[in-house]
Amino acid sequence: MMDLFSFKRFFAVILKEFIQMRRDRMTFAMMAGIPVMQLLLFGYAINSNPKNLPAAVVSADHGTFSRSIIAAMQNSEYFRFSYKVDSAEEAEQLMKEGELQFVVHIPPDFSRQLIRGERPQLLLEADASDPAAVSYAVSAFSSLASTALNRDLKGTLSDLRQNEAPFEPVIHRKFNPEINTQANTVPALMGVILTMTMVFITALAITREKERGTMENLLATPLKPTEVMAGKIVPYIAIGIVQVTLVLLLAEFLFKLHVNGSILLLYFVSIFFIATNLSVGITFSSLAKNQLQAVQMSVFFFLPSIILSGFMFPFRGMPEWAQAIGSVLPLTHYLVIIRGIMLKGNGFAEIQSHFTAILIFFAAVLVLGILRYRRTLD
């Protein structure tokens, strides 16, 4: 009579689902793997108060004061003076390439002016294209001014400690003077969007053929692995280019962000970045047994990409190991390139090393994918 809900039937379904879940080891592994990875990445790699940011000194004054100031900055743990630069030009170049976050300029006569109580200026240049990365360090620098020289200013000089700080800290935010966070986020979003959509689209490309049985037919034809892969990558490059154009247009009209560098260069690099992500997807696709597995692999690639690339959190603020993983990922390099071209007006010379990193990743993935593509059903 009451046949609305049968617990037997209900139980039958539960049982079946458990059996299927157990059979699909890959899904099982991912179910455990994704939360573990996420926890580790968010828990350890993320540092919302980034420290040890790369800095350099351009000094025209070699007195003890300047040395003490640098030492105090280093002690604050926000700055890491890892580069020795010989000129302001060299420092500027390194900053454009994204290697340096800060440059301290010590003017000539700094020590002399300081002793005379003239409160000389001390200039800190900060790469503000990522405002979050530098904000703590910048305020640390400002507060440092009054205390850094306490030990040096003794005896007759102790008067200088009395009132204001003995020198005047000046901060110059480069590339994004209005500290506009959109300026940082919008170009980066382009990379994130491309990574997400491109990897997912092709991840399903070959598994779909496998699941529908059309793979058997494809394999029985003279088609070569490279032909199948290239044939599945190229159409989506066009879609990727449309996405890039869309983001650029929105950036221009909604956020008033212009491309300072060459648009042509931007598209050129983007095409390779798109192709790289597509080949990641294709490779997942030839590894996965079904579409679900392919999607899971894509998530597995996507998560570290957004967390460790410098999109969510300042790259230089992450621990060494996280930076090491991040520097393998194409998105990391694309972010530096795209921010460089859009905000700093970088040319090819400044982005070259990051572009090479993307190409190496692209080649490695492509080779793996072609090797893994089975020409048989074994």
Binding site: G213, E216, L219, A220, T221, P222, R375, T376, L377
Partner: protein
């Protein structure tokens, strides 16, 4: 004329330790329509996949179209047409788009014309723009055949091409296959579970548990089986009891009802005859007559025998 199109020996295929094709040797001559039969799971599909390079044999060697099946898979792929057991064309493409795709892959000369000709030949013209996924089962099979024929292969490997196809369409399908074999000298290796289709083949092979159990023309296969068959007709109500008794007898290998008659077979002629006499004793309106064993009787017999050998 007697050029060998398929000539393989000692082919073995194992899936995770389980032998699925066991030292199979097969010779097929040009222009033959070779029937490849065997029960479900006997390894037919697996064997065909090895012929066209979709699976790698664990042992054995041989030639297909004169090319080494272990090394020249690429050339074999170009000259053979393989129709898979499961429909494997794109359901989200139309008939014409599917054919066009295949024609481009094989670089068929005069592509547009070939496609139109193929569609006309198989009566597809009115369905050219229909999505393949919306075709009925029989039409899907036809599309698959049409696609296999586009590049004019010398060897057709058809894996259960007529499963689920109505009798008239099956008849037409076989007429087409015969025409291809005689007019274009195509060689056809075809698997089927239909006995009437097996009888339309020029030669047959029967495999079970991956082993070749019989090979030859229809008559050769039947006579080499050494199976004798009788048709016993008796009143309907007597049949169940008779079947039970016959099946209990060791000499009787098969006893199966066909309408109002029983087909009883065995390899030991006199022992089987005795068994029938014993069982029939006292039954009214009886008639017993020896008939020629049918292919089905032979195959069921081979299947049972194969199982004994296997275990």
């Amino acid at each position: 004329m007697s050029e060998l199109v398929i000539d393989v020996t000692g082919i073995v295929k194992k899936f995770s330790g389980r032998t699925v094709v066991d030292r199979l040797s097969l010779k097929v001559r040009r222009g033959e329509i070779f029937g490849f039969l065997g029960p479900n799971g006997s390894g037919k599909t697996t064997f065909i996949r090895m012929l066209c390079g979709l699976l790698t044999p664990d042992a054995g060697e041989g030639k297909c179209l004169g090319y080494n099946i272990l090394k020249d898979q690429n050339i074999i792929r170009r000259h053979a047409g393989y129709m898979t057991q499961k429909f494997s064309f794109y359901e989200d493409l139309t008939v014409r788009e599917n054919l066009d795709f295949i024609a481009r892959i094989y670089d068929v000369p005069d592509r547009k014309k070939s496609i139109i000709e193929t569609m006309e030949k198989l009566n597809f013209s009115s369905r050219a723009n229909q999505l393949a996924g919306s075709l009925s089962g029989g039409w899907k099979q036809r599309l698959a055949l049409a696609a296999c024929l586009l590049h004019k292969p010398e060897l057709l490997l058809l894996d259960e091409p007529t499963a689920g196809v109505d009798p008239k369409a099956r008849r037409e399908f076989w007429d087409e296959v015969h025409k291809l074999a005689s007019e274009e000298n195509m060689t056809v290796l075809i698997t089927t579970h239909y006995m009437d289709e097996a009888e339309r083949c020029t030669r047959l092979a029967y495999i079970a548990y991956g082993k070749l159990l019989a090979e030859g023309t229809l008559a050769e296969v039947i006579s080499s089986s050494g199976l004798y068959t009788w048709s016993v007709s008796a009143p309907q109500k007597e049949l169940p009891a008779m079947i039970r008794k016959l099946q209990a007898d060791k000499a009787v290998l098969q006893a199966a009802p066909f309408g109002n008659t029983l087909h009883v077979s065995g390899t030991d002629k006199s022992a089987t005859e005795n068994a029938i006499k014993t069982v029939c004793a006292g039954v009214q309106e009886l008639s017993v007559e020896e008939i020629e064993s049918g292919l089905e009787d032979v195959f069921i017999h081979l299947m049972d025998k194969g199982k004994d050998n296997f275990q």
